[in-house]
Amino acid sequence: MTQIQIIEAGRAERHYWRDLWRYRELFFFLAWRDILVRYKQTAFGVLWAVLRPLLTMLVFTLVFGKLAKLPAGNVPYPILVFAALLPWQFFSSALTEAGNSLIANANMISKVYFPRLVIPTSAVIVSFVDFLISFTILVGLMVWYGRLPDWHILTLPLFVVMAFAAAMGAGLWMAALNVKYRDIRFVIPFVVQIGLYVSPVGFSSAIVPEQWRLLYALNPMVGVIDGFRWAIVSGDTPLYLPGFLLSLVLVLVILITGIIFFRKTERSFADVI
């Protein structure tokens, strides 16, 4: 039995979420396309996904650990840095890719119907694949330093989900705004660049004075990164609970408002882009 579809002005699409399900394969096709295309005609190929975080980790270890001699407790500095670099690089590349994804696929948006949510989401999935690839380096580092994880590692999926939610939320905001205000193109690299220094990537958030911790957690990536570290180094770095909860709430707020804002502006994408 064929259903009747009504098209009307301002009509909240009742079938939106069902359509999203129907187009579920498109998420993976688009992600697959971007992954395939990214490494075509490159000499090193997928190696780049490993090389970038590895080199960043080396530089950070040298600058923050060896030169600035920042404390790391009893955690090897490379592991301290890499445990933070994983979620940060995932977040920053997801934000960049998702933020520009609608513009990059403008042609598709003005010529074919599908739930637009598919586009930024698949951009985040692409970054997630890179994240999984660079995760293998972490495993290597942990074996090298003989730091085997304990039960803390079991909480890691929770923090991965949190990182995903943060990247999705921020990515949706940027993507939707970018359609109308191309200024976002300049804002994203700026956010990513500054974010690297205001998030505890190269250092442990333990060096932030106690009374500023809660304020520091207003950067939602602080909670995500601290959580990652805590899970990976078996609780040897502190997880400041009030701060973490504040970050968690902020991530949820960004995600939910991001989805709402995206859905609201989505209808006019084809007219504006």
Binding site: I7, A9, W32, N107, V112, F114, A270
Partner: protein, 422 residues
């Protein structure tokens, strides 16, 4: 028969920003403006649109109502800018109407462009899957149809070659083949057959006819009256966003051809220039295509002589103006460029005077399709004005001389040919 599509009072408004006025503001101003507007939009999402005075409304569709029954093959006809594409975009849910209502029964597939989402770096095989998924096919569907698609597109040998190395013909064939195997209940096709070679066009039309005979509904937009007449049983004529005529396809085409002798064009003087130097010293203010009866029209029979009335205004007294005109096809293929100075014609103008020029292209007989004329004014090799696609016009193939020719769909130019044994 039941209605599969019924459209009631459908309207679509576009808000056109006058960017030229903002053109000189600094980047900082624009950023500040942008942030201000963003902030305002976040706070009061509804009010912002109403309170920006430099915006102008444009109704692409106005109160359009009609019904389409199951199995109908409907041709949608109208001049460029008549609202055809907007209508198709609303029906395919790409854009939302401003007011009005559409109810559609059945799965819709729309083909507004050939090869949407094709990625040049990916191989033919990869693109079939990707494109199929974008058009709404499941992986299993694509797998089932894969061989059929490849056979239809005739690209077996190049399946694992990146499509950037395909010839344009192969590219189009592959793209159409994917879309043609969607098997929707309602198929919406925009002017996509304008591309591709004649043989393939025939094949595509055949495929679409099959779709029609299987009880599916087809909505078809084309400037090619022959394909429309061949494929469609009824038609809808749109003009300036309003339904002008509906009924049998013959009646609607006739109405369109008669109607289009009354010109409705934007003045060339108003069109934006690519460079701010253009049109300052001397400027095209008007241009019309003219048929061999001397009437200004945008629709010609094939084989008819075409000429153009051009009006130029100069800001100061100037001698030695040369006019350039380039004729392009719908697909931006340059057919010919003509220069008045090469024929020894240079024009002079007094300050603020309008010069009227007629330029004719005798012996140029175009094949059916849509063409555009790009105009330029030169003075001592220096470009004074340059208007890309200043005017569009259409050649319809319904002409007594050429009606029964098989060759009309191949190439862009009709020419006499003389054959003899030697």
């Amino acid at each position: 028969m039941q209605n599969v599509i019924s459209i009631e009072n459908l309207s679509k408004k576009y808000v056109i920003g006058h960017q030229r006025q903002e053109g000189h503001s600094s980047l900082r101003d624009q950023l500040a403006n942008g942030i201000k507007r963003t902030a305002a939009k976040l706070l009061h999402p509804q009010q912002v649109k109403l309170s920006t005075p430099e915006r102008e409304e444009f109704w692409a569709l106005k109160d359009v109502s009609f019904d389409i029954q199951q199995g109908d093959k409907v041709g949608i006809i109208g001049r460029n800018g008549a609202g055809k594409s907007t209508l198709l975009k609303i029906l395919s849910r790409i854009t939302e109407p401003t007011s009005g209502r559409v109810s559609i029964q059945g799965r819709v597939a729309s083909l507004l462009e050939v090869g949407t989402g094709f990625h040049p770096e990916l191989t033919g095989r990869e693109n079939i899957y990707l494109n199929g998924a974008i058009l709404g096919m499941s992986k299993a569907d694509i797998k089932n149809k894969f061989d059929e698609i490849v056979a239809f597109a005739e690209v077996e040998k190049f399946l694992d070659t990146p499509v950037k190395r395909y010839s344009s013909g192969m590219y189009v064939r592959l793209a159409f083949a994917v879309a043609a195997h969607l098997e929707p209940e309602i198929l919406i096709v925009d002017e996509v057959l304008a591309v591709g070679d004649a043989q393939f066009q025939k094949k595509c039309l055949g495929k679409m006819e099959d779709v029609g005979t299987e009880g599916r509904t087809v909505l078809f937009v084309s400037h090619n009256m022959a394909s429309i007449q061949k494929l469609c049983s009824s038609g809808i004529l749109l003009s300036d966003g309003v339904v002008r005529e509906t009924g049998s396809i013959e009646k609607v085409i006739e109405c369109y051809l008669n109607d289009s002798t009354s010109t409705g064009h934007v003045s060339v003087g108003e069109l934006p220039r690519a460079h701010h130097d253009y049109g300052v010293i001397a400027r095209f203010i008007n241009a019309w295509p003219v048929n061999n009866k001397g009437e200004r029209t945008t629709s010609f029979m094939s084989g008819e002589d075409i000429s153009f009335d051009l009006e130029i205004k100069a800001l100061k007294k100037i001698d030695g103006l040369s006019i350039v005109a380039g004729l392009d096809t719908y697909m931006d293929y340059r057919i010919t460029t003509v220069l008045s100075e090469e024929t020894g014609m240079l024009f002079s103008s007094d300050k603020d005077a309008v010069i009227s020029i007629n330029m004719s292209l005798p012996g140029l007989h175009l094949k059916p399709g849509t063409y555009s004329l790009t105009l330029g004014i030169r003075h001592n090799k220096l470009a004074l004005d340059h208007v890309v696609k200043a005017i569009n016009f259409e050649i319809s193939e319904i002409s007594i001389d050429h009606k029964n020719r098989d060759s009309w769909a191949m190439g862009d130019v009709l020419t006499e040919s003389v054959w003899q044994l030697s």
